[in-house]
Amino acid sequence: MTPDPVYERLLQISWRRKLTEAEAAELQAWLAAHPDLRAQWADEANLNEFLEALPVAPVPSNFTSRVLREVERQEAAEARVKGKTWHFWNWRLPWLPRATFAAIVLGSGLLVYRQHKISQRYIHELQIQQEQARLAGDLATLATVGGTMPSEVLTNYDAIRLMTSVNSKPRPDAEILRLLE
């Protein structure tokens, strides 16, 4: 392909349509300056003429009506098939749509219930794990404290424990109350 932009532009125009008078004049001027490309242009122009001279396919006079008839025929056929399909299911299995709907609702319900149970179980297990971790922490603390504590501290441990286990509220002093009266 010749890289010259003028030639290239005019060539590409000529591939699609005949050059206008102005374009033809521009071409002649260009070819006058580039006579070595005259033969190449002549081949291109002749090929254009050959392609232009090809006979057009004769369109049947009833082409449009044939198209419209075919559209109608295909639409009617599709409508018949749709109608037949619906009629078949409706006649054979009239309960099928309702049963399908019920199955979907039931299935969804079961799924939601199962998910709920799974999440509850998970939360419960998590709580147990947290409690176990807390107890383990307490035991570890106690072991640490117990190891460093002197034995005298624990001398009155039982007595103190018993005091806290009984009602630790101070009882009213009945004698003083009587004197105050």
Binding site: D43, V67, L68, V71
Partner: protein
């Protein structure tokens, strides 16, 4: 691209709303270029008529999904190209039975016998017909994308950008396809091109 820029797209929007007369107008406008393209792709007028008819039926059936994203003619010629390609593929899978195939019972006779309806034709027309056939043959032997690009280019309905969209390549690749196709044609038609006449 909008309906104002492309009056055919505006008609197609009417078809989408069920306007059959708008569809008729589109068929009337494009039946010749579509049939030309399909005929030159397939080289069989009867099949080309059926395919062209099917192109418009497809257009009507696709109307409900039609969106203006490119020119209507680009969309139309893309459908025409695809249906022609389907037909070419179908032919390659089921090659037509040869009319010269021998008859199974009488091997010396062909299977099909056709009445010779050819009337006398003046020599000039014969020569012209011969060159027409040479040109059509040379076009038919081109690779499909070169052939489609070249034929669409020659029809002048579409710009190079639109041809690129139909063929599915870039603008420069499309121009290159056309250039290479034309170079092949020039090689094959060399003796005719030298004189620039049909009667070589």
């Amino acid at each position: 691209m909008s309906a104002e820029q492309d009056p055919d797209a505006a008609l197609m929007l009417l078809v989408k709303q069920g306007d059959v007369s708008a569809f008729e107008r589109l068929v009337e406008k494009y039946k010749q270029p579509v049939l030309n393209l399909v005929y030159r792709m397939l080289r069989d007028l009867t099949e080309a008529e059926d395919i062209a008819q099917n192109v418009f039926v497809q257009v009507y059936k696709s109307a409900s999904r039609y969106e203006i994203s490119s020119k209507f003619s680009t969309w139309l010629f893309t459908i025409a190209r695809n249906l022609s390609l389907n037909e070419i593929r179908r032919r390659s899978r089921h090659p037509a039975e040869s009319i010269d195939a021998p008859h199974p019972d009488h091997e010396d006779q062909p299977w099909h016998q056709f009445e010779d309806k050819k009337t006398f034709t003046p020599p000039e027309s014969l020569l012209q017909g011969e060159l027409e056939n040479k040109v059509l043959e040379a076009i038919a032997e081109l690779p499909e994308n070169q052939r489609t690009a070249l034929l669409l280019c020659r029809q002048g309905e579409l710009s190079y950008e639109e041809i690129a969209e139909v063929v599915g390549t870039s603008l420069s690749a499309t121009k290159s396809l056309i250039h290479r196709g034309r170079e092949t044609l020039k090689q094959k038609l060399k003796p005719y091109l030298k004189t620039g006449k049909w009667d070589v």
